[in-house]
């Protein structure tokens, strides 16, 4: 059965995050939040890298079940890591965990046990900073990811298939992204084809469309293109999505349209849910 390979230190897999850094990412995300889209996406990626590190931490350090690339696309296409990892593409998770660019102290509100909230500080590791300028070279970014995936599979032919997660807020400015997207999905390990999941960040108040299994409810050609680029969710991820309250079918795709803050977090959580760690 496809998408059932164990993920271990001798048989790791990889995540490639593609992050839109075009000028429109400066706009506020939809809904009640005044936050910039670029800030929300950077926070979500940084938080996910934190959670992955904690999940894979053992007494001797963080286990390299995953190698992770964070690629930005805007004025250029390339590594979005800051600090010691700047310029690198795939990085073993143990190195990611040991090399945040900095650790910020952030204030968060937690229940005070008496029905109210109290402010407390929490440590927030940061690997990538928000960037927003220039156009949306999504096609080049997808080709960049394809190159990473292709090289990875030469060395890891039996791995759980690589997962590419693309977070964007606009249409590609360098041509139809469908071809480069197909290029990623055409690569495969012995366990199945590489996965490409897409998320569109909202700037308005429209309801998010989460993990659809058809494009008939999508509003325009652009959203239908992103839907068409997205892989069907493998069984385990689909089951996990169902436990999170999403309505799923065999045709459910890894795609979210008009994502708000909550659905960005859910997208990253479900899209990186590879549970069979050994």
């Amino acid at each position: 059965m496809a998408y059932s390979a164990e993920i271990s230190r001798v048989n790791p897999t990889c995540f490639v995050f593609l992050v839109d850094q075009s000028a429109s990412m400066n706009d506020p995300i939809g809904g009640d939040s005044p936050q910039r889209k670029a800030d929300v996406v950077a926070d979500a990626i940084n938080r996910l890298l934190t959670e992955l590190s904690v999940k894979c931490a053992k007494e001797e350090g963080v286990r390299d079940y995953f190698h992770v690339a964070v690629i930005g696309y805007g004025s250029s296409v390339g590594s979005a890591y800051a600090g010691a990892l700047a310029g690198r593409d795939l990085v073993p998770l143990s190195e990611v965990a040991d090399n945040p660019a900095r650790v910020e102290e952030r204030v968060k509100k937690v229940p005070d046990g008496a029905g109210g909230l109290v402010e407390t500080t929490t440590r927030f590791p940061v690997w990538m900073d928000p960037v927003a300028n220039a156009g949306t070279p999504m096609g080049r970014a997808l080709q960049y990811a394809e190159s990473i995936v292709s090289k990875w599979l030469v060395d890891h032919p039996g791995c759980f298939p690589p997962i590419v997660l693309n977070l964007t807020d606009g249409e590609a400015t360098d041509g139809d992204p469908d071809g480069p997207a197909s290029g990623i999905r055409a690569h495969a390990s012995a366990d199945g084809a590489a996965l490409l999941f897409n998320l569109h960040v909202s700037a308005g108040d429209a309801e998010p469309v989460t993990f659809p299994d058809t494009d008939t409810t999508l509003p325009d050609a652009y959203s239908k293109t992103l839907f068409g680029m997205s892989s069907v969710l493998p069984t385990d991820m689909r089951s996990y999505a169902a436990t999170q309250g999403f309505s799923v079918s065999d045709a459910t795709r890894g795609f979210v349209y008009n994502a708000d803050i909550a659905s960005i977090v859910q997208f990253l959580d479900i899209g990186t849910r590879a549970t069979d760690l050994r």
Binding site: E6, S8, R9, V10, N11, T50, S53, V54, K55, A57, K58, E59, G61, V62, A97, D98, V103, R123, P125, L277, R278
Partner: protein
Amino acid sequence: MWAYVSTLSVPKDGATAEECEDASVVVPLIASDEPTDGPVSVAVADGASESLLARPWARVLVDSTVEAVRAKPEVLHSEAGFARVVLGAVDDWDTWLATYIAEREETARPIKWYEQPGLERGAYATLLAFHLTDVGLWHAAALGDSCLFQVRADSMLRAFPVDTAVALGTSPALLNSRNRDDELIASNAFVAGGDYQEGDQFFLGTDALAHWFLTEVEQEDCPWEVLRDLSAAGSVDEFAEWVATERAGGRMKNDDVTLVHVDLG
């Protein structure tokens, strides 16, 4: 009644023996080819890989449990008694953890930011405790899916606490190293007991072995025969080779595997 006791354990494929998160202890400590004629106490624990410090937590659980059972075997007669044993292990864990954190500091390896959430959540493990009296009776208590099988006259007489392979496929109950809620522990625990006769065999195993065992039984095979032979041989290498074959054939999942065999033959 003379009993021979042997223990075999192999880590999951891709891990070292030092990374095996199963733990077991047998008292009295005897070589597998030497018989004992007094009471025998056994504990088996399976540390949950997803948690930090699962291996030492499993070790503290079995050591603390067997010590409590040796002091007062009646603790295995009720879920409440078993819960009190676990609370003792949680106390022992606090001592162990304080020493561990101090050692990390002293050796210039302080706890990293990515370890802190795991330490705060605590470690998780299953626990199975077993006591063979010298008056023909046995008692056991369990929380989670580490299993005990009693075999008599070439037939499985008892499986505890899980008796079907499919029931082992679900998420097991686990003991958390910070759990001091004895009522909650008791409500998730099970106790069992029975008699034994000369020739009986008891097999205690963690979930991968238990799943294999029950599947074989459901296919009307006799899994105790191969385990008895492996136990009699007493070779960890031979056991590891057999486990590797079963894994490769898709008959056993890739997980740490522990077997304790108590042979009254």
